[in-house]
């Protein structure tokens, strides 16, 4: 491949991917700020980006510790979702009866809005952190379960025959064929679940409305709302969005690193 011109070590062709969204963001924020000033909107109706940035800087210690609390629930929920999702899909792929028995339950959990179940869970579970974790887990585990199950059941038939032909044990087939085959499916599910566990955690915090020292970002938003500190509310919101984007990018990177040698989705357009 021809070695093209580079700027700051990045090939020329890679820059639009970075610059285009940055330009879009700048225009959006600039337009927002100008509109707020031009229309003379008071900050308690709609603060401009500058005011929000100011609030973020001023309240950073509080907001950062709240972010840490929310991220902790998010991370634990994601770990729980991966463990249970992969575990259940192994169980499902091993036994059709298990799948028929438990899949409807999993679907029901998935389609019932979490805001509707969260109050119940918060009533039933004494420990608030545990209740938040359960809510976030309920939202996050289904994509991993359904994707991994699809991957485990979708193994190439010829490869499966080949393993049979060479007398592979069930264990060998699982470790050397079905699990690697399911990997891209699992990773696609993981990327969705990462964002969902954050959403689940925030929704549950909203419903719980748990205050005090160990409270997360959602509570900070509620609190700022009650106190009509709208810029602060937006600052917390911005942090949540930012956290979501970072989670997505991190999981995309994990997926890319895991698949770059072999899977078409990680190849890009070089071929």
């Amino acid at each position: 491949m021809r070695e093209g011109a580079r700027i700051l070590g990045l090939p020329l062709a890679a820059w639009p991917r970075i610059l285009a969204p940055l330009l879009m963001a700048t225009l959006l924020l600039g337009g927002w700020e100008i509109a707020v000033r031009h229309l003379g909107l008071p900050p308690y109706v709609l603060p401009g980006p500058v005011a929000i940035g100011g609030a973020l800087a001023a309240d950073l210690p509080t907001l950062a510790s709240a972010l840490a609390v929310t991220l902790r629930v998010t991370a634990l929920a994601l770990v729980a979702a991966v463990t249970t999702g992969v575990g259940l899909s192994l169980l499902f792929s091993g036994s059709r009866l298990m799948e028929m028995t438990f899949l409807p339950l999993a679907v029901m959990l998935q389609v019932t809005p979490i805001v509707a179940i969260a109050p119940l869970i918060i009533i039933w579970v004494d420990n608030v952190q545990a209740a938040l974790l359960i809510c976030a887990w309920i939202v996050a585990f289904f994509p991993i379960l359904s994707n991994t199950t699809a991957g485990l059941n979708g193994t190439d038939r010829n490869l499966a025959d080949l393993f049979r032909l060479y007398g592979a044990s069930r264990w060998q087939t699982l470790w050397q064929l079905r699990l690697p085959w399911a990997m891209p499916f699992f990773l696609a599910g993981l990327r969705i679940s990462g964002g969902l566990s954050l959403i689940g955690a925030v929704v549950a915090e909203f419903v719980a409305g748990a205050g005090g020292t160990g409270s997360g970002l959602a509570y900070r938003i509620l609190e700022a709302g009650y106190q009509l500190q709208i810029p602060r509310m937006f600052a917390a919101l911005a942090l949540i969005s930012l956290a979501g984007v970072v989670i997505f990018l991190a999981l995309s990177l994990v997926s890319h690193l895991a698949l770059r040698r072999w899977h078409e989705s990680a190849v890009g357009k070089e071929h």
């Binding site: 010829n158 025959d161 060479y166 050397q176 040698r261 072999w262």
Partner: protein, 261 residues
């Protein structure tokens, strides 16, 4: 039998065949009769093609010989004991997450051979198919023809006595297919395995085999067995010879008969 003595159309000698199919039928669970009453003997060291239109059950026959699917009637005899098998699928059927070397070594790994030993053998096989320099490449970095070579190397790595090939070159371009045909013949000559080759190409079946079993469809059955008597080497000269053309015409006529039957 020396590899160049291709007149093995002689009714298989007194020695018992490697495998004999007797009245073999296959009916699938949905009721389709894929194969009906098939009798076929395959002598040790021979190269036999199963030729027929799609839907004639030739792949099913191969899968039954491989033990991947049981016949619903009839039996498959192994008078010399069950041989070691190699199977080449229509698609290269490689594991995309493994390097070419590890793909070739798979059968040995499943047999729990030590890593160094299986890698040495896999490397030798890759050399044999002309891919010594690509041991570390992943399948998606290889061309279609190279992937198929890896697949053949994998099938040969266990030193099989019986190599089953299910339309292995159907998806390749003609130039690559010709080259792989020659490679396959060379390997067969060197390694003396028995080959059963499923194809829907008259030209390929005549070029490669000592005997062509022509199959008819609906239900799949044996229509004719034709010897391919062509002394001398099978090479580009043979491919363009009048003998080859005449043989192709004979087989082609038989195939037409099978389609009309």
């Amino acid at each position: 039998m020396p590899p160049t003595a291709l007149a093995a159309s002689t009714p298989e000698t007194a020695a018992p065949p490697l495998v004999g199919l007797r009245g073999v039928s296959k009916r699938y669970a949905n009721g389709t009769l894929a194969v009906q009453g098939l009798d076929l003997e395959i002598g040790a060291g021979s190269f036999v093609s199963l030729l027929g239109p799609s839907g004639c059950g030739k792949s099913t026959v191969l899968r039954m010989i491989a033990g991947l699917t049981p016949p619903s009637a009839g039996r498959i005899d192994w008078p010399r004991g069950t041989p070691r098998l190699g199977f080449v699928f229509q698609e290269p059927t490689l594991m995309p997450w493994q390097r070419a070397l590890d793909n070739v070594a798979l059968p040995l790994k499943l047999a729990r051979m030590a890593r160094a030993e299986r890698h040495a053998r896999a490397r030798r096989m890759l050399e044999l198919v002309g891919l010594a320099d690509f041991a570390g490449s992943y399948p998606r970095e290889l061309s279609g023809g190279m992937r198929m070579r890896v697949s053949i190397a994998r099938a040969l790595v266990t030193e099989p006595e019986l190599l089953l090939l299910d339309e292995p070159f159907a998806a390749l371009d003609e130039i690559t297919r010709f080259r792989l045909n020659n490679d396959l013949l060379r390997l067969w000559g060197e390694r003396r395995f028995t080959a059963v080759f499923v194809t829907h190409s008259v030209f390929e079946s005549v070029y490669l085999s000592q005997r062509v079993a022509v199959m008819a469809a609906h239900p799949g059955r044996l229509h004719a067995e034709l010897p391919v008597e062509a002394p001398g080497a099978r090479d580009e000269a043979f491919r363009t010879s009048p003998d080859y053309a005449a043989l192709c015409r004979t087989v082609s006529t038989a195939l037409e008969g099978a389609m009309a039957a």
